[in-house]
Symmetry: D2
Subunit: 322 residues, 4 copies
Amino acid sequence: MTKEPILDVAQLAHFEIYSPKLEESVGFFKNILGMDEVGRKGNSVYMRAYEDHYHNTLIITENDEAGLGHVAWRATSPQALERRVAAIEKSGRGIGWIDGDIGHGRAYQFTTPDGHKMEILWDVDYYEAPEDQKTPLLNRPQKRPSRGVPVRRLDHINVLASETKKNVEFLEEVLGFKVRERILADDNSDVAAWLSVSSLVHDIALMTDALGESGRLHHICYWYGFPQHLSDVADLLIESGYEIEAGPGKHGVTQAAFLYVVEPGGNRVELFGDPGYQIFDPAWKTIEWKGKDLEKAIIWHGSNLPQEFFKYGTPVKSDVLV
Amino acid sequence: MTKEPILDVAQLAHFEIYSPKLEESVGFFKNILGMDEVGRKGNSVYMRAYEDHYHNTLIITENDEAGLGHVAWRATSPQALERRVAAIEKSGRGIGWIDGDIGHGRAYQFTTPDGHKMEILWDVDYYEAPEDQKTPLLNRPQKRPSRGVPVRRLDHINVLASETKKNVEFLEEVLGFKVRERILADDNSDVAAWLSVSSLVHDIALMTDALGESGRLHHICYWYGFPQHLSDVADLLIESGYEIEAGPGKHGVTQAAFLYVVEPGGNRVELFGDPGYQIFDPAWKTIEWKGKDLEKAIIWHGSNLPQEFFKYGTPVKSDVLV
Amino acid sequence: MTKEPILDVAQLAHFEIYSPKLEESVGFFKNILGMDEVGRKGNSVYMRAYEDHYHNTLIITENDEAGLGHVAWRATSPQALERRVAAIEKSGRGIGWIDGDIGHGRAYQFTTPDGHKMEILWDVDYYEAPEDQKTPLLNRPQKRPSRGVPVRRLDHINVLASETKKNVEFLEEVLGFKVRERILADDNSDVAAWLSVSSLVHDIALMTDALGESGRLHHICYWYGFPQHLSDVADLLIESGYEIEAGPGKHGVTQAAFLYVVEPGGNRVELFGDPGYQIFDPAWKTIEWKGKDLEKAIIWHGSNLPQEFFKYGTPVKSDVLV
Amino acid sequence: MTKEPILDVAQLAHFEIYSPKLEESVGFFKNILGMDEVGRKGNSVYMRAYEDHYHNTLIITENDEAGLGHVAWRATSPQALERRVAAIEKSGRGIGWIDGDIGHGRAYQFTTPDGHKMEILWDVDYYEAPEDQKTPLLNRPQKRPSRGVPVRRLDHINVLASETKKNVEFLEEVLGFKVRERILADDNSDVAAWLSVSSLVHDIALMTDALGESGRLHHICYWYGFPQHLSDVADLLIESGYEIEAGPGKHGVTQAAFLYVVEPGGNRVELFGDPGYQIFDPAWKTIEWKGKDLEKAIIWHGSNLPQEFFKYGTPVKSDVLV
């Protein structure tokens, strides 16, 4: 009988990005994506989408360069947290406990082999809407904002790694992630992988960094779930002077209706416009795309991806001009 | 420290309904909902939606009366299966092992306190599309049918119970279901509950049977995920001579875009037209609807539910005229 | 050879409604429907939707009672205007010329047999967006607002008449309207009629006033064209404390995806959520609904219409409680 | 006072295309676009979309080369027909009367300066659905087909011309078309023009043939009106082995959600996925796109157009490889 799956990580809880233009970045998430600012501390601003249940899911921290601050995962129980911390410590990637931050209690920090900083936690603060923001739709933590084209909830993160395989294995073995889909080179080496602990096709994706860099961010993603909202936000972006990098279009991988845009701080943001598909099968066999299938993997239909898509990440490296 | 959650059941795997008009029922799922017939055995027909990954998700068995045959759950691992079987046996609700059926291996059968027959299993057969039905969208097990308005995958089941609370507790304690939302009477007794083992708001719902009966089926549900398809299938249903019971409309509970129709055999079928919302929080606090909030729980907007909705189930009982 | 059709009226140009709560009405159209205030004069406020090409399409005038101020039609040419004015004068329904108003030049005023005040005009002012509101989408007169769920353009008006037939004939004979669809009573008398001069199924509809009153307004309508926006605005309406009278749902008549809500001043507003269908046939044979077909005429699918829908109009009459 | 507009042409009535693979072309329109075959005569097949009101809108005629057979316009009245025939004859472009064809009575044939064959007519046959295809939606001439992703109605035609300006002037002066939008080169010469007699932004478009040829067809277009159907038909096309040339995407010009695909006979077909916008203003000022605005004219968002799009037309000329 095979080993039981690790079911100790429940979900992506929040992420932190760096921005050299803090207020402009905050303005983008607030006015275009309809997110709310719910806290400030030091040079960090805490934000949330209207169907995020926790206090915040996005932290924007002022920094010289754009990039990833950290990624936070929530364990499935306090006991699961302890088990994963033990496993991380055993892997030699642990940093140590922090007391907590706005929106959550103590968390254990660590890094991936590629140097992406992560944390795992159990204690979270739920968002309590002020009276005038409470909605009769009781499963929605606050009213849908009447500003911009509001995203519903945090969806996933996509990071670049100097070597995909090693990082994928770390996430699989130490945290229990499952590889849902992957793209292979002709020599069967990993080019990109989509992993999740939940029914989402990916809570995190890893792609081999075309520039050979380590620790970079490809994009963060918020979710609409309805295709029309990609058209709506495309109008708003264009008429607000933003350049859409790609989309609306539909990936074969994950079946996601996508739109990519770079926020004022320089980080790429994906907006997910339809439900995609979901994985409930506990023994899911990884979907493998390679060779002749790759074209449809990347674009099932609609907008193509520009070359920049495969090179640009944050921090920005000098041989990519945007 | 609180007890750890039971994470041994992964998903709803399939269900069986009874129909006094077998071929007409099969025709409905085939021609209106675009499902495929993939097997026959005895007086049962096995069917699947085009994004169902297992061999089949719907069994229609000829029977004098409409109603529920059984509901099948898939465990998260072989070990998890053994643990749940032990728990079921301890509960006194176990029936015993069967060798399997078309599409799956051995399964352990049991009943809920209300008498709904269920089974839990690990071994499943994946669907292998014939060559001409394979699609370059590798995460889709077969081509999208060009017939009717094809549903994508099985979603959930909703059963009537003479007493909701006792059955909810059975599912929670023995199988690890979590109560995601519930409707309470003024005296705080349970009227209805939506439970899941997955990120779906419900894999199963239970509602108190207004007629006081036991073991009845309220409806089975297949999923579209896109709101337009409810309009499309509404056209097809009306123009094919079916009467839509309710919808398209939107529930507050589960945020589901719904449409209800009775298939020719007499069983109610729900079609789920948008992504609804999902629950990734491992410590989700049950949403409770009662009193003044109830109206929005039932209908957030759009089509109302007729009185029949709250009484009609299968087998049909004589004091409901449809 | 039959007489040639009158092609002298091109379109609905604007309408004026009365509101006892001027600022609240303005707030509704501004914050919920994303319309802009573009002028004020006396106790009137002039507003526009973002794809209205003329200066304004809605005038809200403060008044003791809600109701219709006037409806304005644009002629197809200056010559066509003269011809229609001559015809109106001949009909005995003419009032006379006015010099113009904010957004248009001289106009000829008249009343329908039922007493609804109308005007016909040629000279219009086109909207010139301020620099920061100009869009690179050159066929759109201004940017899509980032506020509320913005309607695109004015669609139609629906009025109640003490006698439908006489008013329909006036519009047909004097102004060249064509009856696109109508509902007939069992005795073949007119219950309601949908008329247009354009390819829209209706620029104006008339319904027999169930209270026997004259000159009342049933509703004004703005257009989205995309079904998702009805769901979006339904969320916004409900969470802003408005009660949706009916919808989203789909009429058989006109194939319109509808939502009805009463604005704070008391006037009913329809929001049209899909393209409906259009009539390009110059010899269109009126669609007639009666008897057994009526149910589908009123609701093709989705939300029902409450009894109030068939009685409530503005000014509100005392025997209708809302 | 300026001259009155010519209002003698009401709409595009039908078009005929040539196909070297007749049965395969018919199969495409039937099985992918859900159209019905309603007649055969000689080597021609007559087809219709389910919301086309006339007997047929598409004629496919077997021919050595793909291309345009003819385009038919319906006059606004019998008198209007006579006036236009007189004007055509005066222009020297007339061919003469034909007795009629399946679906219409006598028609007057002529050619544009570029050699595209057209006809104008008044007498049409309305489609009478067989009993089992009648729908309770009385404004729909037949049931929505349950096959493929059915288009609703004919929309427009787009032709290539060796010189755009001269042909545009012919349509304006002789037939009363209005130029709704146009693309200009840096020297202000016409590159493309969108013209209509109806409220549609275009019933016909003309683009300068990049190969300098005369009389070629760029594409014919059928209309969905709902964006989801472009995604649906994209799935069906890809999984049926067709290559989508471009789309789904959104043009700035006409605000059309588009998808382009080449049917088996070689002719390009556009599918129009949303309502676009409409023109009711009888004095519409032509929208002019040039220079820096061109990029957004061609693609507002989503899929790009490949170079082939600007060269490929039918008949296919040898210096374009597809």
